[in-house]
């Protein structure tokens, strides 16, 4: 199997989707000739033409609103927002329209669109380029929110997102775009949007994360095994709706859970998972569910961002504390 980086896997999935379905349209700022600022759409315009791979004016609200209109007409638009810090003008369209067009018309009009955007810090980018506000999106009924953590899952999940009949926000871990490499078979096979992935099995502790933080989480699990702690690692992959069964099944087995996310703690998606575990598996717990997260501050610019993001050491410290509880 050929090896691809995560951003190359995105590109493969987009090309495959466009080839398979003439209704798939790619739009965004610089996605055409330039192939996107991260090259996720490289070569697509040359191959599929300027009508289907469309450089939009510099207007994010417009991109999301165009997707709604196109989708209502039966196209399958895949919009790109250059960085998550620029997705906020799209929130009106996502909350008021994309997520509820099907519901408010009782199924008469639907919105099969995908809005892709890079997610997270760690590439020493300028201000406003390091956001991880996925919990805001996961709060919106009617949306799906997906975040891959490997090239293979980026390929399969993006295909699934494009084929899904409802709106999907697809968050791509910027830090892994080129750092993550793996074997990707361009076979057109999608992965399920309603399943978490167990990346590593273990009996002592469940580590749950998503996106780029899986890198630190997996490294922590590896290091913990040397200390005799067998950690199970779950890649949540789809945040909305998230796979409660896999999470609860794992916690029932291990009795201990640490949730790792880059986003600020308060109101982060870890709180949602912790609440579900408390509601439904309290009797299985041997220790309090613990979160290792970004701090409740503005994500700092390049010089301090490494101190903001959860480190392998912070994950290990939390894991040890949970394992030693009681």
């Amino acid at each position: 199997m050929p090896e691809a980086t995560l951003v190359e896997a995105i590109n493969l999935a987009l090309a495959r989707a466009m080839q398979d379905d003439p209704d798939v349209v790619v739009l965004g700022e610089d996605v055409g000739v330039n192939g996107g600022v991260f090259r996720a759409t490289a070569g697509l315009q040359k191959r599929f033409g300027t009508e289907r791979v469309l450089d939009t004016p510099l207007a994010e609200l417009l991109i999301s609103g165009l997707c709604v209109g196109m989708a209502a007409q039966g196209l399958k638009p895949v919009g790109e927002i250059q960085f998550m810090g620029f997705i906020y003008p799209c929130l009106d369209q996502l909350v008021n329209h994309a997520s509820r067009l099907r519901n408010r018309t009782q199924g008469r009009l639907t919105c099969p669109m995908v809005l892709r955007t890079p997610h997270g810090a760690g590439i020493r980018a300028p201000e406003h380029h390091s956001e991880s506000t996925e919990a805001m999106l996961a709060h919106i009924p009617g949306l799906r929110v997906v975040m891959p953590s490997s090239p293979e899952r980026a390929y399969g999940l993006l295909l699934a997102a494009i084929r899904d009949p409802d709106p999907v926000v697809f968050l791509e871990p910027t830090r892994l775009y080129r750092a993550a490499k793996g074997e990707v078979e361009d076979n057109g096979e999608a992965l399920p949007l309603d399943a978490a992935f167990v990346l590593r099995e273990g009996r002592d502790l469940t580590l749950i994360s998503w996106g780029a933080m899986l890198k630190e989480t997996m490294a922590a699990a590896e290091a913990l095994s040397a200390e005799g702690i067998a950690a199970e690692v779950i890649d949540l992959a789809t945040l909305k709706p998230y796979d409660e069964d896999t999470v609860l099944g794992s916690v029932a087995k291990t009795g201990r859970c640490v949730i790792v996310h880059e986003a600020a703690r308060t109101g982060g998606f870890g709180a949602e998972i912790a609440a579900t575990i408390a509601e439904r598996r309290l009797s299985s717990l041997l220790a309090p569910v613990t979160r290792v997260t970004g701090y409740d501050t503005v994500v700092p610019m390049a010089r301090l961002e490494q101190y903001y993001m959860p480190s392998v050491e912070r994950v290990m410290t939390a894991a040890r504390r949970v394992c030693q509880f009681g």
Binding site: V25, E51, R52, L54, T56, P57, A59, L61, L62, S64, G65, L66, C67, V68, G69, M70, A71, A72, Q73, G74, L75, P77, P89, D92, Q93, N96, H97, R102, N103, R104, T105, Q106, G107, R108, L109, T110, P141, G142, R144, D164, P165, D166, D194, P241, Y242, E244
Partner: protein
């Protein structure tokens, strides 16, 4: 404008103009040569009937709201010619993207009176209406339907279909980036898209002069690179003529058009509003002299296309239609609470299916 000081030594590199269209004066007299359809008594009386029906329907809706049987409702009083005029020039396969005050357009396109009542009565089923299946529902967040219209029009163009998207909004919406972003995109791609702003002078309590310093709203199209025309929006002949031209141009691949329909909101913003708080009775009274229904009736009567007997018969018909629709609306069986989950996704994820079961009082799976 004289007050804008410019350096006369610099060369002029571009000039723009905005045209104004009107045919019937407020008293129904003819101001300039009429378009050919003005001799088509069947079309003109149909426009008249639709506007009268809309006005009576509005009156009934307000009565239902005042007696606790309908939610907040937005009347079209005074601006009936705008939504009826534009909708009358559309084909069924064209796509309408209305604002919340465009009942007249929906009615013309086949949406049933009771469906409109159902929507304003708080039931989503009103949006699953009998009009063209591809038409958008009322848009409540102001101007946010404009980017949808651009997306729809892009899809129509991509598929080389001879169809046009028509996007309606009010003067307040022209202050929003949504509208300008959509207009700008439509200009770049020469989309088959007609924007119509019902400039009724008031965005709730804020008058037009506080929305913009522009002399016209039509000129906003110039910045987006296409034609904007100002129309007497209380003259349904002008509305129909401007709409026909704009839609035909868009259908023929000549790109978008923008119509500013100058009219006046004679009623409150909605049933939750009291316009007396921010404008004088004298101002409103003055605008009653311009309203579209009396104006067209004066023309029709002068042309012998309409009689007192026609008027009486129409009143009886409209009354019966509106009353029957209200009865059907009031008799509509309520939805079961758990149906609020239906049509949330194509297939309701199990995570939320449990909540649906809880609401339905069903045992958890």
């Amino acid at each position: 404008m004289a007050s804008r000081r410019v350096n006369q030594d610099l060369p002029v590199i571009a000039r723009f103009e905005v045209r104004h269209r009107n045919y019937l004066a407020p008293d129904g007299s003819i101001q300039r040569p009429l378009p050919s359809f003005a001799s088509d008594s069947r079309l003109l009386t149909e426009l008249y009937r639709s506007m009268v029906l809309l006005r009576l329907f509005d009156r009934k809706a307000v009565a239902l709201q005042r007696t606790g049987r309908l939610g907040t409702y937005a009347v079209s009083l005074g601006q009936e010619a705008v939504s009826v005029g534009i909708a009358s020039a559309m084909r069924k396969e064209d796509v309408l993207l209305p604002s919340y005050r465009d009942n007249g357009a929906l009615l013309w396109r086949g949406v049933k009176l009771e469906e409109i009542l159902l929507f304003w009565g708080g039931d989503e089923r009103g949006n699953r209406f009998s009009g063209p299946v591809h038409d958008f529902p009322f848009c409540v967040p102001v101007g946010s339907q404009a980017p949808h219209a651009a997306g729809v029009a892009y899809a129509l163009k991509l598929r080389k279909q001879p169809r046009v998207a028509v996007c309606l909004f009010g003067d307040g919406a022209t202050s929003k980036g949504d509208v300008y972003e959509a207009m700008n995109f439509a200009g770049v791609h020469k989309l088959p898209l007609v924007f119509v702003v019902a400039n009724n002078q008031w965005a709730i309590s804020v008058p037009l002069r506080q929305q913009t310093a522009c002399e016209t709203l039509a000129q906003k199209a110039i910045a987006a690179g296409f034609i904007g025309e100002q129309v007497d929006g209380s003259d349904v002949v002008a509305m129909r003529a401007a709409s026909e031209e704009a839609i035909a141009a868009a259908r023929d691949g000549n790109g978008p058009r923008f119509i500013e329909a100058v009219t006046y909101r004679l009623g409150d913003h909605t049933t939750s509003d009291d316009a007396a708080r921010y404008r004088s009775a004298e101002e409103v009274q003055a605008h009653w002299k311009e309203e579209p229904i009396a104006r067209l009736r004066a023309y029709l009567v002068a042309q012998k296309m309409w009689s007192k007997a026609d008027e009486e018969q129409l009143a009886t018909e409209c009354h019966a239609r509106v009353e029957a629709a209200a009865e059907r609306y009031l008799a509509t069986a309520p939805r079961r609470p758990e149906t609020m989950f239906d049509h949330l996704y194509a297939d309701l994820p199990e995570a939320y299916a449990a909540q649906r079961r809880e609401l339905a009082g069903e045992p958890d799976a």
